[in-house]
Amino acid sequence: MREIKVLGSGCAKCNNTAERIEAKASELGVEARVTKETSPEALMQYGVMSTPAVVVDGQLVHSGSMPEPGQIQEWLQ
Protein backbone atom coordinates (compact mmCIF):
# COMPACT_ATOMS: atom_id res chain seq x y z
CA MET A 1 0.00 0.00 0.00
CA ARG A 2 1.54 3.26 -1.16
CA GLU A 3 0.93 6.41 0.86
CA ILE A 4 1.02 9.32 -1.57
CA LYS A 5 0.64 13.00 -0.77
CA VAL A 6 0.24 15.76 -3.30
CA LEU A 7 1.39 19.09 -1.87
CA GLY A 8 0.15 22.40 -3.20
CA SER A 9 -2.13 25.25 -2.34
CA GLY A 10 -5.13 24.03 -4.26
CA CYS A 11 -4.13 25.10 -7.77
CA ALA A 12 -5.54 23.33 -10.82
CA LYS A 13 -2.26 21.58 -11.51
CA CYS A 14 -2.24 20.06 -8.03
CA ASN A 15 -5.70 18.59 -8.52
CA ASN A 16 -4.71 17.23 -11.91
CA THR A 17 -1.60 15.67 -10.43
CA ALA A 18 -3.61 13.86 -7.77
CA GLU A 19 -6.07 12.64 -10.38
CA ARG A 20 -3.29 11.42 -12.65
CA ILE A 21 -1.74 9.40 -9.86
CA GLU A 22 -5.05 7.87 -8.84
CA ALA A 23 -5.81 6.95 -12.43
CA LYS A 24 -2.39 5.38 -12.92
CA ALA A 25 -2.67 3.41 -9.69
CA SER A 26 -5.98 1.87 -10.64
CA GLU A 27 -4.68 1.19 -14.14
CA LEU A 28 -1.73 -0.72 -12.70
CA GLY A 29 -3.84 -2.33 -10.01
CA VAL A 30 -1.62 -0.88 -7.29
CA GLU A 31 -3.17 -0.03 -3.96
CA ALA A 32 -2.46 3.58 -3.16
CA ARG A 33 -3.96 6.20 -0.95
CA VAL A 34 -3.66 9.65 -2.52
CA THR A 35 -4.28 12.67 -0.32
CA LYS A 36 -3.97 16.38 -1.02
CA GLU A 37 -2.07 18.54 1.44
CA THR A 38 -2.78 22.24 1.13
CA SER A 39 -1.39 23.58 4.40
CA PRO A 40 1.68 25.81 4.28
CA GLU A 41 3.17 23.85 7.18
CA ALA A 42 3.31 20.74 5.02
CA LEU A 43 5.16 22.61 2.31
CA MET A 44 7.67 23.76 4.87
CA GLN A 45 8.07 20.33 6.41
CA TYR A 46 9.23 18.90 3.09
CA GLY A 47 11.12 22.02 2.01
CA VAL A 48 9.01 22.44 -1.11
CA MET A 49 9.31 25.70 -3.00
CA SER A 50 7.44 24.99 -6.17
CA THR A 51 4.18 23.13 -6.44
CA PRO A 52 2.71 20.67 -7.17
CA ALA A 53 5.02 18.38 -5.22
CA VAL A 54 4.65 14.66 -4.61
CA VAL A 55 5.59 12.72 -1.48
CA VAL A 56 5.64 8.93 -1.64
CA ASP A 57 5.79 7.06 1.66
CA GLY A 58 7.20 10.12 3.42
CA GLN A 59 9.83 10.78 0.75
CA LEU A 60 9.74 13.87 -1.47
CA VAL A 61 10.11 12.57 -5.02
CA HIS A 62 9.02 15.45 -7.22
CA SER A 63 8.24 19.16 -7.26
CA GLY A 64 7.46 22.02 -9.57
CA SER A 65 5.34 20.46 -12.29
CA MET A 66 2.75 17.84 -13.11
CA PRO A 67 4.61 14.53 -13.21
CA GLU A 68 4.84 12.48 -16.41
CA PRO A 69 3.01 9.15 -16.56
CA GLY A 70 6.39 7.35 -16.69
CA GLN A 71 7.50 8.92 -13.42
CA ILE A 72 4.25 8.06 -11.71
CA GLN A 73 4.61 4.45 -12.81
CA GLU A 74 8.09 4.27 -11.24
CA TRP A 75 6.81 5.56 -7.88
CA LEU A 76 3.99 3.07 -7.83
CA GLN A 77 6.08 0.01 -8.51
Binding site: G8, S9, C11, P40, M44, G47, M49, T51
Partner: protein
Protein backbone atom coordinates in the same frame (compact mmCIF):
# COMPACT_ATOMS: atom_id res chain seq x y z
CA UNK B 1 7.60 43.98 -38.96
CA UNK B 2 4.58 44.29 -36.70
CA UNK B 3 2.70 46.45 -39.21
CA UNK B 4 1.69 43.25 -40.91
CA UNK B 5 -0.91 42.73 -38.19
CA UNK B 6 -2.48 46.12 -38.85
CA UNK B 7 -2.68 45.27 -42.54
CA UNK B 8 -4.07 41.85 -41.79
CA UNK B 9 -6.74 43.43 -39.56
CA UNK B 10 -7.63 45.92 -42.29
CA UNK B 11 -7.97 43.10 -44.75
CA UNK B 12 -10.19 41.01 -42.47
CA UNK B 13 -12.31 43.72 -40.86
CA UNK B 14 -12.71 46.36 -43.55
CA UNK B 15 -12.33 44.37 -46.77
CA UNK B 16 -13.68 40.92 -45.94
CA UNK B 17 -16.32 41.60 -43.29
CA UNK B 18 -17.06 45.06 -44.66
CA UNK B 19 -17.13 47.09 -41.43
CA UNK B 20 -16.21 50.64 -42.27
CA UNK B 21 -13.21 52.43 -40.85
CA UNK B 22 -14.18 55.47 -38.82
CA UNK B 23 -17.30 53.88 -37.36
CA UNK B 24 -17.28 52.78 -33.74
CA UNK B 25 -17.79 49.15 -34.55
CA UNK B 26 -15.29 49.15 -37.40
CA UNK B 27 -12.56 50.75 -35.30
CA UNK B 28 -13.23 48.50 -32.34
CA UNK B 29 -13.13 45.38 -34.51
CA UNK B 30 -9.92 46.52 -36.16
CA UNK B 31 -8.29 47.13 -32.80
CA UNK B 32 -9.48 43.74 -31.55
CA UNK B 33 -8.22 41.75 -34.52
CA UNK B 34 -4.91 43.57 -34.79
CA UNK B 35 -4.01 43.40 -31.13
CA UNK B 36 -5.17 39.83 -30.60
CA UNK B 37 -3.10 38.56 -33.51
CA UNK B 38 -0.09 40.66 -32.60
CA UNK B 39 -0.11 39.72 -28.94
CA UNK B 40 -0.65 36.00 -29.47
CA UNK B 41 2.14 35.94 -32.07
CA UNK B 42 4.58 37.83 -29.87
CA UNK B 43 3.72 35.62 -26.92
CA UNK B 44 4.32 32.34 -28.68
CA UNK B 45 7.65 33.37 -30.18
CA UNK B 46 8.97 35.09 -27.10
CA UNK B 47 7.98 32.58 -24.50
CA UNK B 48 9.69 29.91 -26.57
CA UNK B 49 12.94 31.84 -27.04
CA UNK B 50 13.17 32.95 -23.46
CA UNK B 51 12.32 29.53 -22.09
CA UNK B 52 15.22 28.08 -24.09
CA UNK B 53 17.59 30.36 -22.23
CA UNK B 54 15.89 30.05 -18.89
CA UNK B 55 15.47 26.29 -18.82
CA UNK B 56 18.10 25.75 -16.13
CA UNK B 57 16.95 28.53 -13.80
CA UNK B 58 14.67 27.50 -10.95
CA UNK B 59 13.54 28.95 -7.65
CA UNK B 60 15.98 26.79 -5.70
CA UNK B 61 18.87 28.40 -7.55
CA UNK B 62 17.45 31.86 -7.03
CA UNK B 63 17.15 31.14 -3.35
CA UNK B 64 20.72 29.88 -3.06
CA UNK B 65 21.84 33.02 -4.82
CA UNK B 66 19.82 35.41 -2.65
CA UNK B 67 20.65 33.81 0.68
CA UNK B 68 23.24 35.76 2.63
CA UNK B 69 23.48 38.70 0.24
CA UNK B 70 23.93 42.15 1.76
CA UNK B 71 20.62 43.97 1.90
CA UNK B 72 20.86 46.80 -0.62
CA UNK B 73 22.13 44.34 -3.18
CA UNK B 74 19.47 41.92 -1.93
CA UNK B 75 16.60 44.22 -2.92
CA UNK B 76 18.06 44.82 -6.34
CA UNK B 77 18.64 41.11 -6.89
CA UNK B 78 15.23 40.24 -5.47
CA UNK B 79 13.54 42.55 -7.96
CA UNK B 80 15.76 41.38 -10.80
CA UNK B 81 15.02 37.72 -10.19
CA UNK B 82 11.37 38.61 -9.80
CA UNK B 83 11.52 40.13 -13.26
CA UNK B 84 13.26 37.21 -14.99
CA UNK B 85 11.47 34.34 -13.25
CA UNK B 86 8.05 33.37 -14.52
CA UNK B 87 5.50 33.61 -11.86
CA UNK B 88 2.00 32.63 -11.05
CA UNK B 89 0.36 33.87 -7.89
CA UNK B 90 -0.43 30.29 -6.83
CA UNK B 91 3.30 29.73 -6.24
CA UNK B 92 3.74 32.77 -4.01
CA UNK B 93 3.04 30.84 -0.82
CA UNK B 94 5.59 28.03 -1.27
CA UNK B 95 8.11 30.56 -2.50
CA UNK B 96 7.56 32.77 0.50
CA UNK B 97 7.99 29.84 2.85
CA UNK B 98 11.10 28.62 1.08
CA UNK B 99 12.74 32.04 1.14
CA UNK B 100 11.82 32.79 4.74
CA UNK B 101 13.14 29.49 6.01
CA UNK B 102 16.46 30.22 4.31
CA UNK B 103 16.58 33.46 6.34
CA UNK B 104 16.20 35.66 3.29
CA UNK B 105 14.81 38.94 4.70
CA UNK B 106 11.08 39.48 4.21
CA UNK B 107 11.82 42.71 2.34
CA UNK B 108 13.95 40.91 -0.23
CA UNK B 109 11.25 38.29 -0.72
CA UNK B 110 8.65 41.02 -1.12
CA UNK B 111 10.86 42.87 -3.61
CA UNK B 112 10.71 39.63 -5.60
CA UNK B 113 6.97 39.15 -5.16
CA UNK B 114 6.01 42.74 -5.96
CA UNK B 115 8.18 43.01 -9.06
CA UNK B 116 7.47 39.55 -10.41
CA UNK B 117 3.90 39.97 -11.70
CA UNK B 118 4.62 43.47 -13.01
CA UNK B 119 7.77 42.88 -14.99
CA UNK B 120 8.58 39.95 -17.17
CA UNK B 121 9.74 39.42 -20.70
CA UNK B 122 6.20 39.18 -22.00
CA UNK B 123 5.25 42.51 -20.43
CA UNK B 124 8.33 44.23 -21.78
CA UNK B 125 7.81 43.07 -25.32
CA UNK B 126 4.10 43.84 -25.34
CA UNK B 127 4.67 47.32 -23.97
CA UNK B 128 7.42 47.91 -26.48
CA UNK B 129 5.33 46.67 -29.38
CA UNK B 130 2.16 48.53 -28.42
CA UNK B 131 3.33 51.64 -26.60
CA UNK B 132 6.91 52.37 -27.60
CA UNK B 133 10.26 52.19 -25.85
CA UNK B 134 9.96 55.26 -23.69
CA UNK B 135 6.89 54.09 -21.80
CA UNK B 136 8.44 50.64 -21.56
CA UNK B 137 11.49 52.03 -19.78
CA UNK B 138 9.33 54.11 -17.46
CA UNK B 139 7.22 51.08 -16.66
CA UNK B 140 10.28 48.96 -15.88
CA UNK B 141 11.85 51.68 -13.75
CA UNK B 142 8.65 52.15 -11.73
CA UNK B 143 8.25 48.39 -11.27
CA UNK B 144 11.79 48.02 -9.98
CA UNK B 145 11.61 51.06 -7.71
CA UNK B 146 8.30 50.06 -6.14
CA UNK B 147 9.61 46.54 -5.51
CA UNK B 148 12.94 47.62 -4.07
CA UNK B 149 11.75 50.54 -1.97
CA UNK B 150 8.74 48.55 -0.80
CA UNK B 151 11.05 45.73 0.27
CA UNK B 152 13.42 48.09 2.06
CA UNK B 153 10.50 49.71 3.86
CA UNK B 154 9.14 46.35 5.04
CA UNK B 155 12.51 45.43 6.48
CA UNK B 156 12.85 48.84 8.09
CA UNK B 157 9.62 48.27 10.04
CA UNK B 158 10.75 44.71 10.81
CA UNK B 159 7.88 43.09 8.95
CA UNK B 160 9.05 39.61 9.93
CA UNK B 161 7.24 40.21 13.24
CA UNK B 162 3.95 39.94 11.37
CA UNK B 163 4.48 36.57 9.71
CA UNK B 164 2.28 33.68 10.73
CA UNK B 165 3.80 32.15 13.89
CA UNK B 166 4.98 28.88 12.29
CA UNK B 167 6.85 30.84 9.65
CA UNK B 168 8.23 33.48 12.01
CA UNK B 169 9.75 30.62 13.97
CA UNK B 170 11.24 29.00 10.87
CA UNK B 171 12.69 32.37 9.92
CA UNK B 172 14.31 32.74 13.33
CA UNK B 173 15.84 29.29 13.15
CA UNK B 174 16.82 29.51 9.50
CA UNK B 175 15.87 25.87 9.15
CA UNK B 176 16.71 25.71 5.46
CA UNK B 177 19.70 28.02 5.58
CA UNK B 178 22.02 25.29 4.44
CA UNK B 179 19.59 23.84 1.96
CA UNK B 180 21.19 22.81 -1.30
CA UNK B 181 19.64 22.74 -4.72
CA UNK B 182 21.75 25.60 -6.02
CA UNK B 183 23.58 23.71 -8.72
CA UNK B 184 23.00 24.47 -12.35
CA UNK B 185 21.74 21.55 -14.36
CA UNK B 186 23.50 20.83 -17.60
CA UNK B 187 20.85 20.60 -20.26
CA UNK B 188 21.07 19.48 -23.83
CA UNK B 189 19.49 21.53 -26.58
CA UNK B 190 16.87 18.84 -26.90
CA UNK B 191 15.90 19.14 -23.22
CA UNK B 192 15.79 22.92 -23.54
CA UNK B 193 13.53 22.62 -26.57
CA UNK B 194 11.18 20.28 -24.69
CA UNK B 195 11.08 22.63 -21.73
CA UNK B 196 10.41 25.63 -23.96
CA UNK B 197 7.61 23.86 -25.81
CA UNK B 198 5.97 22.92 -22.53
CA UNK B 199 6.32 26.49 -21.26
CA UNK B 200 4.65 27.91 -24.34
CA UNK B 201 1.74 25.52 -23.91
CA UNK B 202 1.43 26.20 -20.22
CA UNK B 203 1.71 29.99 -20.29
CA UNK B 204 -0.50 30.19 -23.35
CA UNK B 205 -3.13 28.10 -21.64
CA UNK B 206 -3.04 30.44 -18.69
CA UNK B 207 -3.01 33.83 -20.36
CA UNK B 208 -4.99 33.59 -23.61
CA UNK B 209 -8.26 34.45 -21.93
CA UNK B 210 -6.68 37.51 -20.30
CA UNK B 211 -5.47 38.61 -23.70
CA UNK B 212 -8.95 38.30 -25.17
CA UNK B 213 -10.61 40.09 -22.27
CA UNK B 214 -7.99 42.83 -22.26
CA UNK B 215 -8.10 43.37 -25.98
CA UNK B 216 -11.89 43.34 -26.00
CA UNK B 217 -11.96 45.99 -23.27
CA UNK B 218 -9.34 48.02 -25.07
CA UNK B 219 -11.28 47.69 -28.32
CA UNK B 220 -14.55 48.76 -26.70
CA UNK B 221 -12.85 51.82 -25.20
CA UNK B 222 -11.24 52.51 -28.53
CA UNK B 223 -14.37 52.29 -30.60
CA UNK B 224 -17.11 53.57 -28.35
CA UNK B 225 -15.74 56.12 -25.91
CA UNK B 226 -15.93 59.45 -27.76
CA UNK B 227 -12.60 61.13 -28.47
CA UNK B 228 -11.97 63.80 -25.93
CA UNK B 229 -14.35 62.43 -23.33
CA UNK B 230 -11.60 60.95 -21.18
CA UNK B 231 -9.40 63.97 -21.60
CA UNK B 232 -12.21 66.28 -20.51
CA UNK B 233 -13.45 64.25 -17.61
CA UNK B 234 -10.41 62.36 -16.41
CA UNK B 235 -7.63 64.58 -17.71
CA UNK B 236 -4.72 65.90 -15.68
CA UNK B 237 -5.34 68.44 -13.02
CA UNK B 238 -7.49 66.46 -10.63
CA UNK B 239 -5.05 65.28 -7.99
CA UNK B 240 -7.46 62.69 -6.53
CA UNK B 241 -7.77 60.74 -9.75
CA UNK B 242 -4.52 58.88 -9.36
CA UNK B 243 -5.23 57.48 -5.89
CA UNK B 244 -8.81 56.73 -6.96
CA UNK B 245 -7.53 54.80 -9.97
CA UNK B 246 -5.17 52.81 -7.75
CA UNK B 247 -7.88 52.09 -5.18
CA UNK B 248 -10.09 50.72 -7.92
CA UNK B 249 -7.19 48.82 -9.45
CA UNK B 250 -5.78 46.95 -6.47
CA UNK B 251 -8.69 44.58 -5.83
CA UNK B 252 -9.19 44.00 -9.55
CA UNK B 253 -7.05 41.34 -11.04
CA UNK B 254 -5.77 40.92 -14.51
CA UNK B 255 -2.70 39.50 -16.03
CA UNK B 256 -0.14 41.89 -17.48
CA UNK B 257 -0.86 40.54 -20.96
CA UNK B 258 -4.48 41.60 -20.60
CA UNK B 259 -3.73 45.03 -19.24
CA UNK B 260 -1.38 46.30 -21.94
CA UNK B 261 -4.07 46.65 -24.63
CA UNK B 262 -6.26 48.52 -22.13
CA UNK B 263 -3.34 50.83 -21.38
CA UNK B 264 -2.82 51.41 -25.08
CA UNK B 265 -6.43 52.36 -25.53
CA UNK B 266 -6.60 54.61 -22.46
CA UNK B 267 -3.49 56.50 -23.48
CA UNK B 268 -4.71 56.89 -27.06
CA UNK B 269 -7.90 58.39 -25.64
CA UNK B 270 -5.94 60.95 -23.70
CA UNK B 271 -5.83 59.61 -20.15
CA UNK B 272 -2.66 60.99 -18.53
CA UNK B 273 0.23 58.54 -18.57
CA UNK B 274 0.72 58.59 -14.81
CA UNK B 275 -2.93 57.83 -14.10
CA UNK B 276 -2.92 55.03 -16.67
CA UNK B 277 0.26 53.42 -15.38
CA UNK B 278 -0.85 53.71 -11.76
CA UNK B 279 -4.17 52.05 -12.55
CA UNK B 280 -2.70 49.27 -14.64
CA UNK B 281 0.18 48.47 -12.32
CA UNK B 282 -2.16 48.23 -9.37
CA UNK B 283 -4.41 45.76 -11.16
CA UNK B 284 -1.42 43.60 -12.07
CA UNK B 285 0.62 43.79 -8.88
CA UNK B 286 -2.03 42.98 -6.33
CA UNK B 287 -5.42 41.37 -6.14
CA UNK B 288 -7.88 39.94 -3.66
CA UNK B 289 -7.10 36.32 -4.57
CA UNK B 290 -3.43 36.96 -3.97
CA UNK B 291 -4.07 38.59 -0.61
CA UNK B 292 -6.15 35.60 0.39
CA UNK B 293 -3.25 33.31 -0.48
CA UNK B 294 -0.72 35.46 1.35
CA UNK B 295 -2.93 35.34 4.44
CA UNK B 296 -1.60 31.80 4.90
CA UNK B 297 1.85 33.17 5.64
CA UNK B 298 1.16 36.69 6.92
CA UNK B 299 -0.89 38.21 9.72
CA UNK B 300 -3.63 40.71 8.82
CA UNK B 301 -1.45 43.51 9.99
CA UNK B 302 1.23 42.82 7.38
CA UNK B 303 -1.37 42.44 4.64
CA UNK B 304 -2.82 45.82 5.56
CA UNK B 305 0.64 47.38 5.53
CA UNK B 306 1.31 45.84 2.13
CA UNK B 307 -1.98 47.18 0.76
CA UNK B 308 -1.22 50.67 2.06
CA UNK B 309 2.32 50.47 0.75
CA UNK B 310 1.22 49.63 -2.77
CA UNK B 311 -1.47 52.30 -2.69
CA UNK B 312 1.04 54.97 -1.69
CA UNK B 313 3.77 53.76 -4.06
CA UNK B 314 1.57 53.63 -7.16
CA UNK B 315 -0.08 56.95 -6.31
CA UNK B 316 3.27 58.70 -5.94
CA UNK B 317 4.52 57.16 -9.19
CA UNK B 318 1.36 58.26 -10.99
CA UNK B 319 1.57 61.84 -9.74
CA UNK B 320 5.22 62.07 -10.63
CA UNK B 321 4.66 60.77 -14.15
CA UNK B 322 1.73 63.11 -14.71
CA UNK B 323 4.00 65.97 -13.68
CA UNK B 324 6.77 65.07 -16.10
CA UNK B 325 4.48 64.01 -18.94
CA UNK B 326 4.85 67.29 -20.88
CA UNK B 327 8.57 66.55 -21.24
CA UNK B 328 8.15 63.05 -22.63
CA UNK B 329 8.59 62.72 -26.36
CA UNK B 330 6.36 59.73 -26.85
CA UNK B 331 2.88 59.93 -25.58
CA UNK B 332 -0.31 58.83 -27.20
CA UNK B 333 0.01 56.28 -29.91
CA UNK B 334 3.76 55.86 -29.69
CA UNK B 335 3.71 52.38 -31.09
CA UNK B 336 0.30 52.38 -32.71
Amino acid sequence: MLEIFARLATLVVHDLIGLEAGTGLGDAAHFFVEDTLKILFLLAVLIYLIALVRASLNVERVRAFLAGKAQILGYLLGSTFGAVTPFCSCSSVPLFIGFASARIPVGVTMAFLITSPMINEVAVVLLWGLLGWELTLIYIAVGFLVGMLGGAFLDAIRAERYLQPFLAQAYQQGSAAAAGGGEAQRLTLRQRHDFARKEVGEIFGRVWKWVLIGVALGAALHGFVPDGWIEENLGAGHWWQVPAAVLVGIPLYTNITGVVPVMESLILKGLPIGTTLAFCMSTVAASFPEFVLLKQVMLWRLLAILFALLLVAFTLSGWLLNLVEPWLTTGAGAGG
